[in-house]
Amino acid sequence: MNRNANILQIENLGIHFDTFEGTARVLDGVSLELAPGDTLGVVGETGCGKSITSKAVLGLLPVPPTKIVSGRILFQGEDLLEKSEKEIGKIRGTRIAMIFQDPMTYLNPVFSIEKQMVDVIVRHGRQRGKSVTRKQARTRAVELLDAVQIPSPAERIREYPHEFSGGMRQRVLIAMALSGKPDLLIADEPTTALDVTIQAQILRLLKDLVKRFNLSILLISHDLGVVAKLCRRIAVMYAGNVVETATIAQIFDQPAHPYTQGLLASIPRLSRRVDSLVGIKGSIPSFIDPPKGCRFHPRCDHAMGVCRKEKPLLEETSPDHRTACFLYKSSWPNKSKTSQPREVRFG
């Protein structure tokens, strides 16, 4: 795939975070690619850095204490990290939009939905050089609420966030995000705070919107199931690194990285008898003093000498399937491809 055609390309992003205990190296060279109209899901445990990656795109991280130490974020060919706050401001909402995890806390509780949406729509209009009156913006807002399937939008728009249910609020946020007609939508755990049934609705809505508006979506989630429903491709992150990228089918059929294998094995399946829960031994490392070499090696059953010393890079192991693991380097003599992780008993 021609790299320059990617709508979003994150290259070797490194981010440090100053804490009073020291400098936490939260992102250790993250690379991701998203083609126009495609859907990429980023999966990982809490704390692996996926949320930080997504927020970095729109420059929403507080600097300081966050510091971007390396890498580029290319959006439609331009490096966002090189842009000034004003230039990024132009992109926010109009070309890249973002929705977040908890719709209750991400909506201003003291303003009506109407005010919040109209403010956004008027602002987007201004960015595009069109002056939109508040009345016109209100009409558009009602249309958008209708598009995300909010019942009686013309009446409900005057209400306040606390008068909506969780699922409705997320729809409102999606409507607000789409109001600027963005090319890229970043969704940071959009369904985590919602009930399972509502989750399904929201995902269906998003899938529908992708088709209708040719949106590209970057979805962040810790839930493999959610990602599988919406995304074509998936990237697995661990402790500040991307360890594997592939299509959904490839990940489920042939997980390459030991961490991915552990993740998949730990999902209990109803169709099989489960004698014991499978987990990955150990716990996520400290970012202030991370393990040298591959950050996963302390927990890896297949760790080799080189894993403790050098960091593996993402390399193609089969078409469209990249893995960052020394098990797959063709120059190593003891190459072994194991697909059965050892069972670990709990307790």
Binding site: A97, V110, H162
Partner: protein
């Protein structure tokens, strides 16, 4: 909501009754003989006795109480031994001055305090922030009456920039009594010179009275703004591209005003109490000074009257503030 207001007004009346009762009990039960103190050190026994009778102090405590309440309901708050006028007449004459001073001071504190609090939060740890922090810590420690004297000393006596006291110069005529508030009345009739003179006179006392409130408001507003600016919906607004100015002055500020308003209400109460000090220092003819002079003379009825008036004002102010919450925060329910 109307029901709520009515309920609150009823509560105010009940509370005032309770206040009268408590003050009565404390006053009469406490050691000390008000009639003797009022009569003065040279009075004979007979004179003290006459005073006692005149003020019903020889009657049974409960009867005194009933007398007072009966009088209160009829609109009679007793008579002042010192001024020889009805307390009601005295209060009506003096209250506008106190009202003007406290409201002006409150507006000053809010108009300065909130923007300063916002600026300090936005430019955190900047030079203004440090200055404001020093100010807000010391602002609460400064004795109001001493500050008043110092300001008088420097700006009125040494540099002659402001008058020493009073609402207007000795020879100036007061503007026609429409609202009884000199600042407003002089503006209404267009008497500019009177307006400026009144402004000059109110300036120093207002600064002193608003000082602790200003210090508090800056501090609280700054803290609230910092807390709100960290909230998720601010990140969301930024992601939508809303301008920084709008985020600070609308999205954040309206949320931060909710706890700040509580502090403003509290501080207004302190301001009302502070009038007894500030009016004394600046010879401001209001109910505060009236209360002080009555207290020195142990003239009980006027003090009771002032207590009621100020208590009522404070409770009304709190009611207005509670209604303000409803406007600020749509989640508030009145029931």
């Amino acid at each position: 909501m109307k029901q709520y207001i009515i309920k609150r007004l009823l509560l105010i009346i009940i509370t005032l009754f309770g206040l009268i009762t408590i003050t009565f009990i404390v006053a009469r039960v406490a050691p000390g003989d008000p009639a003797r103190v009022a009569a003065g050190p040279d009075a004979t026994e007979e004179m003290v006795q006459v005073l006692r009778e005149e003020f019903g102090l020889n009657k049974n405590l409960f009867l005194q109480y009933v007398d007072y309440i009966r009088g209160l309901v009829a609109g009679n708050l007793g008579r002042s031994i010192r001024t020889q006028h009805d307390v009601v007449a005295d209060l009506v004459r003096l209250f506008p001055a106190t009202f003007e001073l406290t409201v002006f001071s409150l507006l000053l504190a809010v108009a300065l305090g909130i923007p300063l609090g916002v600026i300090c939060a936005v430019y955190r740890d900047g030079p203004l922030d440090h200055l404001a922090r020093v100010f807000s810590v010391s602002g609460l420690a400064v004795p109001m009456f001493w500050l008043g004297l110092m300001l008088q000393l420097i700006f009125a006596l040494k540099f002659d920039l402001f008058p020493v006291g009073g609402r207007l110069g000795m020879l100036t005529q007061a503007p026609p009594a429409i609202t009884h508030l000199y600042l407003i009345d002089s503006l209404i009739v267009g008497k500019w010179s009177t307006f400026f003179e009144a402004l000059q006179h109110i300036f120093l006392p207002a600064i002193v009275l608003s000082f602790p409130a200003l210090a508090s408001i800056i501090r609280v507003n700054r803290a609230d703004m910092l807390e709100v600016l960290n909230r998720d919906f601010i990140t969301s607004a930024r992601a939508h591209g809303i301008s920084r100015f709008r985020i600070v002055t609308q999205y954040a500020l309206k949320n931060a005003m909710i706890p700040t308003t509580t502090m403003i209400g509290l501080r207004f109460g302190w301001m009302l109490g502070g009038t007894i000090l500030v009016e004394t220092v600046f010879d401001w003819p209001g109910v505060g000074q009236y209360a002080v002079q009555s207290a020195i003379f142990s003239d009980f009825q006027p003090i009771m009257g002032v207590t009621l008036v100020i208590g009522f004002s404070f409770m009304m102010a709190n009611l207005i503030i509670d209604l303000l919450y409803g406007w600020l925060d749509p989640r508030v329910r009145y029931d």
